[in-house]
């Protein structure tokens, strides 16, 4: 008697227990029809398995969903990134300041060494080459900020009165004139 499809499928999946497994194997040894049928089933099984979604496609979805989890469930990973960024900034800023300072030093040094004479200065930078002394410095503005010291007590009281305040003056301590 030949092996039925159900048994052959189980055999194909290597799920057939002993002693049936050996019996089927023996039968397949001499039965051409069953061997052919098993081959057909194997081809079908292979065809279905080959139609699996590709690893690249899976990877794409996997990365996308993982990015979602990084964002919503593992904020610590994001924080680490921020700290890293800050470190870069902190390291970068002194470097920039140092190079700027070096540039200024070189610039001033060049003037100190080569560019101090008035004549030369006039040749190079005629607009700002006049030597700086008191003759050339003029006060541009003398506007002072108003302060209470500029007004007499009477003026202050009058002003407050005009604004509608009731002002009461009290002498707290009197030191006799000597």
């Amino acid at each position: 008697m030949c092996v039925d499809d159900e048994l052959l499928n189980t055999y194909l999946d290597d799920e057939l227990q002993q002693p049936w497994k050996t019996q089927v194997q023996e039968h397949l040894g001499y039965c051409n029809a069953c061997r052919q049928r098993l081959e057909q089933l194997r081809v079908l099984h292979q065809k279905v398995q080959d139609s699996v979604i590709s690893d690249e496609e899976i990877k794409m979805h996997q990365d996308r969903v993982f990015a979602y989890f990084e964002k919503t469930r593992f904020p610590s990973a994001n924080k680490k990134q921020h700290i890293f960024r800050k470190k870069i900034q902190v390291r970068l800023v002194p470097a920039l300041i140092t190079s700027a300072a070096a540039f200024v030093v070189v610039f001033i040094g060049a003037f100190v060494l080569f560019g101090t004479s008035v004549q030369q200065g006039q040749e190079i930078l005629p607009g700002i080459s006049a030597p700086i002394d008191s003759m050339h410095i003029r006060q541009v503005t003398d506007v002072q900020k108003p302060s209470l010291d500029m007004f007499s007590l009477e003026q202050i009281v009058q002003h407050l009165d005009a604004l509608g305040y009731a002002v009461k003056l009290e002498v707290k301590a009197v030191t006799p004139l000597q």
């Binding site: 159900e6 799920e15 979604i53 969903v65």
Partner: protein, 172 residues
């Protein structure tokens, strides 16, 4: 090795190993990659947010497959109508435009599509079992454990699903 689902390291380990399996199962059950991605994401969200512990990685895997399988079945039911519409639109031009081009890639692509469409036609209980059998490394016993059915039931469903696939693909 115990797995704590909301522990970052455990989660990443499970995710790395189980996501591809989940995606394979859900995609071949739903026949829609974007939908499958959504379902896998939802399953892992539940996995993480519930903060459960599992005795082994396999237990976590079975839990995830079970949840996503249920989500997939619900989604397939809900979206059946609109997906059929989309499928009809997708099918129409390709069925008429093949055969002339003999390139191997196209034939492979075409076979892939035919097989997936055949799987799509299977009744749900056979579809789930055959997809798990063919696209994961689980054996009958493990599939039985995930689906809460008996091992001999799995065996019969695999056999009947293959029989149906054979007749559907034989007609093409």
């Amino acid at each position: 090795m115990e797995i704590q689902s909301n522990d970052e390291r455990d989660f990443k380990q499970v995710y790395e190993q189980v996501f591809p399996i989940l995606m394979r199962v859900v995609y071949h059950v739903t026949n829609n990659q974007d939908l499958a991605e959504e379902i896998c994401q939802e399953a892992f969200i539940r996995f993480f947010d519930k903060g459960m512990s599992f005795a082994t990685l396999d237990d976590a895997k079975y839990w995830l497959i079970r949840v996503s399988k249920n989500l997939a079945i619900n989604q397939v039911k809900r979206k059946a109508r609109e997906m059929n519409m989309v499928d009809k639109l997708k099918k129409y031009p390709t069925n008429h435009a093949n055969n002339n081009d003999g390139s191997q890639v196209l034939i492979e692509k075409e076979t892939r599509k035919l097989v997936q469409e055949a799987i799509d036609q299977l009744p749900q209980k056979f579809r789930l079992v055959i997809v798990m059998k063919e696209y994961t490394d689980m054996d009958y016993k493990q599939i039985a454990q995930v689906l809460h059915i008996s091992e001999s039931n799995v065996k019969v469903r695999v056999y009947r699903a293959r029989k149906m696939l054979e007749s559907i693909l034989g007609q093409e």
